[in-house]
């Protein structure tokens, strides 16, 4: 019998690891990987609350599936943008992509 708090601490840990990755990595693809970690933590959290809340109501799983779709489309567009930037600037370090910075 696993207490709900254990699951929530695990998802909080995954989310914070992803947050550290987003804020501190230089490579844009690494930042995207950390974003995927955060999204995974969110989806896991949704399913945990579905299971421990009202498992008879399938809306929890539907919510998680829509988040899956959003995560997949965001990863695809993000990586396409990174590829395009690499073609023009020959770098994917987030520090160097600063032409719009004032």
């Amino acid at each position: 019998m696993i207490p709900l708090s254990w699951y929530l601490i695990l998802t909080a840990a995954l989310f914070c690891v992803g947050l550290f990755g987003v804020l501190s990595r230089r490579n844009a693809v690494a930042i995207l990987m950390s974003i995927e970690l955060m999204l995974n933590a969110v989806i896991l959290n949704l399913i945990v609350f579905w299971r421990y809340g009202q498992p008879a109501d399938i809306s929890g799983q539907v919510f998680a599936l829509i988040v899956f779709a959003v995560a997949a489309s965001e990863a695809a567009v993000g990586l396409a943008l990174i590829l395009s930037i690499y073609r023009r600037r020959s770098t994917v370090a987030a520090d160097d992509i600063n032409m719009l910075k004032w």
Binding site: L4, L8, A13, L14, S24, L37, Y52, P55, I82
Partner: protein
């Protein structure tokens, strides 16, 4: 310590350590492979939470598509075969602090609330019945057909957008612009 708790601790530890290795690995491809292990650990946790359809969807979409896409992007955006340059930017100390503070706050909140220490009730319906209900709810006019259709339009837009953005530059665009 029941068997389920031991399995949860094992899977949770694997997932968490792989996630840490994702953000810490000096070589980006290794980070990509550690990400695959993290996603597999999360799929195992879905099975533990009695959502087998979501576990399989996680493997198909995340590991079978998104992780491979990320590894492709890593391979296509390197200038040489070895990684060089610094891995973290100037703000990494602040990032560690923020993450640790957020984790501490979330854990404190979770442990404060007594209702969150309860275990789960056993599932009343079988997973196959739930699976059929999931399928029906996605196309039911009174339930979730609109989010379903919106998600499919979102995926179509992302597909078209990604193809257009990642198109190789046409030779005519690099020279004089005719349009």
């Amino acid at each position: 310590m029941t068997a389920m708790q031991a399995i949860f601790l094992l899977l949770g530890l694997i997932t968490f350590l792989s996630a840490v290795m994702v953000v810490v690995s000096p070589q980006l491809i290794h980070a990509g492979l550690w990400l695959v292990l993290t996603l597999a650990g999360v799929a195992g946790l879905f099975v533990l939470l009695e959502a087998p359809f979501l576990a399989v969807v996680q493997v198909v979409i995340y590991i079978g598509a998104i992780a491979i896409l990320i590894i492709f992007a890593i391979m296509l955006t390197r200038r040489m075969l070895r990684e060089d340059g610094r891995q973290y930017n100037n703000l990494w100390a602040g990032a560690v602090t923020v993450s640790l503070i957020l984790f501490a706050v979330l854990t404190f909140l979770v442990l404060q609330e007594p209702s969150l220490a309860a275990g789960s009730e056993p599932l009343q319906a079988e997973t196959s019945v739930l699976l059929q209900d999931l399928g029906r709810s996605m196309v039911d006019v009174d339930r979730f057909i609109i989010p379903f259709e919106v998600a499919s339009i979102l995926l179509l837009a992302a597909l078209i957008g990604a193809i257009y953005v990642a198109r190789p530059m046409m030779a005519s665009e690099e020279g004089d612009r005719e349009e």
